[in-house]
């Protein structure tokens, strides 16, 4: 059984007991435990089941690389699936549940898959579910859906109860990893005066060194770490953050840090996670190394663990995973685990060492009475939910002549791989180190910064060296080099001297035993989480998967949430072997950020709910809100769709507004319309290029409706342009189009006609603008008094400055409704007062505010187009019958040349018409018109589509506009529009002006 010793455990505080639950059972741990160490202390070796075969799985590692011990943490709106027990710090009241099983962890129906493993090989889904075709929908897909997904998704109706934030940081040197290498690199860099930020993913400084032992400058390494941290804490130019993982390294020195602030103590105030967005001149990756598993049959049985992890559980948390342990290794480091376990009173039965000879650590182990078997291997681990016995054999061979030994835990070590992820994220290249049998960063090919020079330096075991002395020397050099590259002068201080037991060379072992037969290979796991075995990779190679990237996707090797931290090197070694190629030729798959999964909350930061996106409000926004506004988003603006009165539906309100505006008096808040001032000696010439119409000839005091096209000829915006004085024009744009159109003008002014003297200013928010619309519009303005708004003094399509009531204003006599209409701009600060004055004075004239839907219906009744409805980026003015707005006199304007291209002059282009349903109903928006014949896919040919469609209360019927092939030539024809409701709508092609064709209502 796994148990807690009465002594040991450098990270736990035995005076502080902590109570938590696992699958509903209450257990006890200590402050400083991880969930994994606490579960092991409670003899809970089995922590979950695997994804594909639902095999029982126990914890295999002690840190971020853990593939098996994934749990669902928390409850309700704080539930999170797939959390690693090894990196979850224990706290009082923690609740956890295991994953991938039904009905429970011990008894699981899905485990039948493991019996079917022979029939579920690599690429099983691709191969099996192809035939017969009808089986896909009814049998295969439901089966796959039911078994898909790792862990349980949080309840879809609950919202994350925690808050998150982003921090921005700028530093000379960012050091990622707070082990001895990171600490020393940070010190070496900081001593130069450089600004240094050091981040460490765990809660503790020093990394593995305090567990692995050794001395630095003659004192124990844990004392050295303690002193180093205190020294760094006193340096003003150093920022230290623990529980902060380096998640990714990106272009030009950008890096992400993922800080977990309250996960270890959920009662704490403040945000739960913080995403650091860091810009560093230089980055030192001191990310350490990860031990590789060995590939032998049954290496996934709960109780089989990395040798280093077993050492961690013992030294850090005083936990031993078994009473009778067998250790398998190909290197000297695993002997450290053997020695410590033996000293802690565990029965270390055997160290099976695949090599013929071992170093001084093996001798030390022998002297403690541990039996060391050179040249031996594990043939197979037996046991279901727990290791029961281990069969041993010769490493050279196929696994015959086995000796069976009863044991309850196995430690394995296949050598160490540097954590090269952060080095590689942004293009750092790797080289294969024959001696250590691992990939390490190639210092001659680092990720390149904006200056073309490397900006990442790997340090310590992340760079290859594995002995304490080499690690410290390497880290010291890295810190100094980073400071120098960041423009600081490093001190000539000597690097601290580290010493640890010397080690004999490791020997690569990719399979145990070397020529294991298929029975053994079919139970030798590479990827524990995704259930990929040695035999699967070999099968992929036989089937022709030569690229490591293809093999990865075919077998799913390394595609689990751990991204193959344990499995990748072993897997590609097996692949190389099967292909009879060298490992460096096969290469690695791409390392992509984040290093381990980070929370969606951290990525979102503060941007959620109301602050997800800023909302633009007009000066009258609050009034609208108090008077029943049904809000509609238009760009970033909020506009009133309709003012809904008590007892009314939205549709009722729209109909009331439509009728009242035509019969009496309507007010529209038009403040959102874009207003651009274009000024300068060349402004007229410039606007002649921007608009299809001639704007330079417009007289001061007059207005003109203008169209804007892109250089491709497509309509991009429209609006009324007013000439203010000799060199000043005011251009109205669509709501939400002001910034885009301003940018469009600036682009041409800055990059094409930069010698033209023109300024453009966006004054959209400086004015509140109210459209006063309807037969009584003039009456209400005259009642307020002030400027002359008569037909003679202010004719249609002109503007005047003056006073209305007490308000300084500019009145434009323009109309988007076909009614007598004034659009009146006042300073934004006066908007609400002006609105109030109009409402009060308008009482006797039947005033009602109206919203955007009424605006749309009024303009559609008049056949006026709307950018974004009648246009979609593929429509040209000629399609909409707007030839009159295309100047024939001008030599050039944006879009003019494009309108001559053959596709633009094609007589078959769809053209604007009005559409009237035969039965008076409303056409579905966006419906397509179908014509004769079918296309190559057997679908009916399309001949047009609906662009705007409304119920017109004034006409008592549905009206619509649409683009129809040869439309204007087909007046009176009936066209069919199949709806998505299986009905066929029939509509007659008519003139797009439905109401007051002669424009008599606005001409008063």
């Amino acid at each position: 059984m796994s148990t807690r010793l009465t002594k040991q455990g450098r990270l736990i505080d035995r005076s502080k007991k902590i109570s938590f639950t696992f699958n509903g059972t209450t257990m006890q741990g200590y402050a400083g435990d991880t969930l994994a160490s606490a579960l092991l202390a409670n003899d809970q070796m089995m922590m979950g089941r695997s994804f594909k075969y639902h095999r029982p799985r126990g914890v295999v590692a002690s840190g971020a690389e853990e593939p098996n011990a994934l749990v669902g943490l928390g409850q309700g709106n704080r539930f999170e699936p797939n959390q690693r027990a090894t990196t979850t710090e224990l706290f009082n009241g923690l609740t956890s549940v295991s994953q991938n099983h039904w009905p429970n962890l011990d008894f699981d129906i899905g485990a039948v898959n493991t019996a079917l493993a022979r029939f579920l090989p690599a690429g099983f889904y691709y191969k099996t579910f192809i035939h017969p075709k009808p089986f896909w929908k009814h049998i295969y897909e439901p089966f796959i859906r039911q078994s898909a997904g790792l862990g349980k998704a949080p309840d879809k109706d609950s919202r994350d109860a925690d808050t998150y934030e982003h921090f921005y940081a700028f530093t000379d040197v960012l050091v990622i990893g707070g082990g001895v290498a990171g600490l020393q690199a940070a010190r070496a860099a900081a001593q130069s005066g450089a600004k240094v930020m050091l981040i460490e993913q765990s809660a503790h400084w020093g990394g593995r060194a305090p567990v692995d032992g050794g001395t630095v400058d003659g004192q124990p390494v844990d004392k050295f770490v303690e002193q180093l941290v205190s020294e760094l804490e006193t340096m003003k130019n150093v920022t230290l953050r623990n529980r902060c993982m380096g998640a990714g390294v990106y272009d030009h020195g950008y890096a992400l840090g993922y800080e977990r602030l309250t996960d270890h103590n959920p009662g704490m105030q403040g945000p739960r996670h913080r995403l650091w967005r860091i810009r560093a001149k230089q980055i030192v990756t001191a990310t350490g190394a990860i031990e590789r598993p060995l590939s032998f049959a049954g290496n996934d049985v709960p109780g089989v663990m990395l040798a280093s992890a077993m050492r961690d559980y013992l030294v850090n948390w005083g936990v031993v995973p078994g009473e009778r342990v067998i250790i398998a290794t190909n290197n000297d480091d695993a002997y450290r685990s053997a020695i410590l376990l033996k000293q802690a009173g565990v029965d270390v039965l055997r160290v099976v060492d695949a090599r013929a000879t071992a170093g001084p650590l093996a001798e030390e182990a022998r002297q403690l009475g541990i039996r060391v078997d050179p040249g031996k291997a594990i043939a197979k681990v037996k046991g279901g939910k727990r290791v029961k016995s281990v069969q041993l054999c010769n490493q050279d061979g196929i696994g015959g002549a086995r000796e069976e030994v009863e044991a309850d835990a196995v430690a394995m070590s296949g050598g160490w791989s540097p954590v090269v992820h952060l080095w590689s994220h942004c293009g750092g290249k790797l080289i294969w180190d024959e001696a250590q049998a691992h990939f390490r960063p190639d210092p001659t090919r680092p990720p390149l910064g904006a200056d073309g020079e490397g900006f990442v330096i790997a340090a310590g075991s992340a760079n290859g060296p594995l002995a304490l002395g080499d690690i410290l020397a390497d880290a010291d050099a890295a810190g100094k080099a980073a400071a120098k590259a960041a423009g600081h002068k490093p001190k000539r201080a000597k690097a601290p001297v580290g010493e640890a037991s010397s080690e004999a060379p490791m020997e690569p072992v990719w399979l145990m035993p070397a020529n294991a037969d298929i029975q053994l290979r079919g139970k030798a796991w590479l990827d524990f989480q995704n259930d990929v075995k040695v035999s699967d990779v070999q099968l992929a190679a036989r089937e022709g998967y030569e690229s490591v990237e293809h093999t990865k996707r075919y077998t799913t090797l390394g595609m689990a949430t751990d991204q193959g931290k344990l499995s990748n090197i072993n897997g590609l070694a097996i692949l190389a072997n099967a292909l009879d190629a060298e490992i460096p030729q096969v290469g690695t798959t791409t390392f992509r950020p984040p290093y381990t999964p980070i929370s969606m909350g951290a990525i979102g930061g503060e941007a959620r709910g109301e602050v997800f996106q800023p909302i633009r409000q007009t000066p009258m926004h609050d009034w609208h809100d108090k008077h029943g506004a049904d809000w509609e988003p238009v760009g970033h603006w909020r506009r009133t769709y309709a003012y809904v009165r008590p007892g009314e539906s939205v549709h009722d309100a729209v109909n009331r507004e439509v009728k009242n505006t035509r019969d009496n008096l309507g007010l529209l808040d038009a403040s959102t319309l874009g207003k651009l001032i274009v000024k300068g000696p060349d402004a007229g010439r410039f606007l002649d290029m921007m608009y299809t119409n001639m704007m330079s000839t417009l007289k001061v005091g007059k207005c003109r409706y203008g169209l804007m096209c892109s250089e491709n000829g497509f309509l991009i915006d429209d609006g009324v342009v007013a000439r203010i004085d000799e060199d000043t024009w005011l251009c109205h744009t669509t709501t939400g189009g002001a910034e885009r159109t301003h940018g469009h003008m600036e682009e041409w002014l800055q990059t094409e006609w930069w010698d033209w003297k023109v300024y453009v200013a966006n004054v959209t928010e400086q004015y509140a603008q109210v459209a006063v619309v309807g037969p009584n519009a003039r009456k209400v303005l005259e009642k307020l008094g002030g400027m002359d708004v008569s037909k003679e003094a202010l004719p249609f399509m002109e503007w005047r400055d003056g006073k209305i009531g007490d308000f300084d204003c500019r009145a434009y006599r323009i109309s988007f409704s076909g009614e007598l209409s004034y659009e009146i701009a006042v300073p934004a600060s006066q908007g609400q007062a002006f609105w109030d004055a109009l409402l009060e004075a308008g009482q006797e004239f039947g005033v009602m505010p109206y919203g955007t839907e009424c605006l749309h219906i009024l303009r559609a009744e008049k056949g006026f187009i709307m950018i974004g409805d009648e246009t979609d980026g593929t429509v040209i003015p000629q399609d909409l019958g707007l030839h009159w707005a295309l100047s024939k006199k001008k030599e050039d304007y944006l879009g003019k040349r494009a309108h001559d291209r053959s596709h633009m002059t094609d007589p078959d282009r769809w053209k604007l018409v009005g559409l009237e349903t035969v039965d008076g109903s409303v056409l579905p928006d966006g419906a397509y018109a179908v014509g004769e014949g079918v296309n190559a896919n057997g679908q009916r040919n399309m001949i047009g589509r609906v662009t705007s469609t409304y119920y017109s209360a004034n006409l008592g019927r549905g009206i619509a506009m649409g683009l129809i092939k040869h439309g204007p030539d087909r007046m009176g024809e009936i066209v069919e529009f199949p709806g998505t409701d299986d009905k066929i709508y029939k509509a007659k092609i008519v003139d797009p002006i439905f109401y007051d064709k002669d424009g008599e209502k606005q001409n008063v």
Binding site: D251, R279, G449, A450, G743, E746, T751, R901
Partner: protein, 109 residues
């Protein structure tokens, strides 16, 4: 996440402050031009692996357009310069030659 120095305001701007504006030094063809010239002006772009010239706008900053000479393979930036020019200035060309001897791009080298 590139960093580009805006030659107008001098700020080392992060990519989130900037808006990409496609290939630099396009020659505009208007009314009267041939179909081929106009087509190429609208649609044909270099898309090189290596030295490239681009337009960027300091959109969330001073608002000005500028030119960038950079390497699409290594993301190295050779220099930024004014938008008000029809060809890269000599010092930019020299900076590229120092790092990428023998480079060519359209008619420039």
């Amino acid at each position: 996440m590139l960093i580009l120095r805006c030659p107008c305001c001098g700020v080392d701007a992060e990519e989130t402050e900037l808006a990409a504006g496609g290939e630099a030094h396009l020659k505009r063809f208007g009314p009267g031009s041939s179909d081929d010239d106009f087509h190429d002006y609208l649609f044909m772009r270099e898309n090189p692996k290596g030295v490239h010239f681009e337009r960027w706008r300091h959109a969330n900053g001073c608002g000005k357009w500028f030119h960038v000479a950079r390497c699409t393979r290594t993301l190295e930036v050779f220099g930024t310069y004014s938008a008000q020019t029809t060809e890269p200035p000599q010092e930019i060309k020299d900076a590229i030659t120092a790092k990428r001897p023998g480079w060519t791009w359209r008619e420039f080298s």
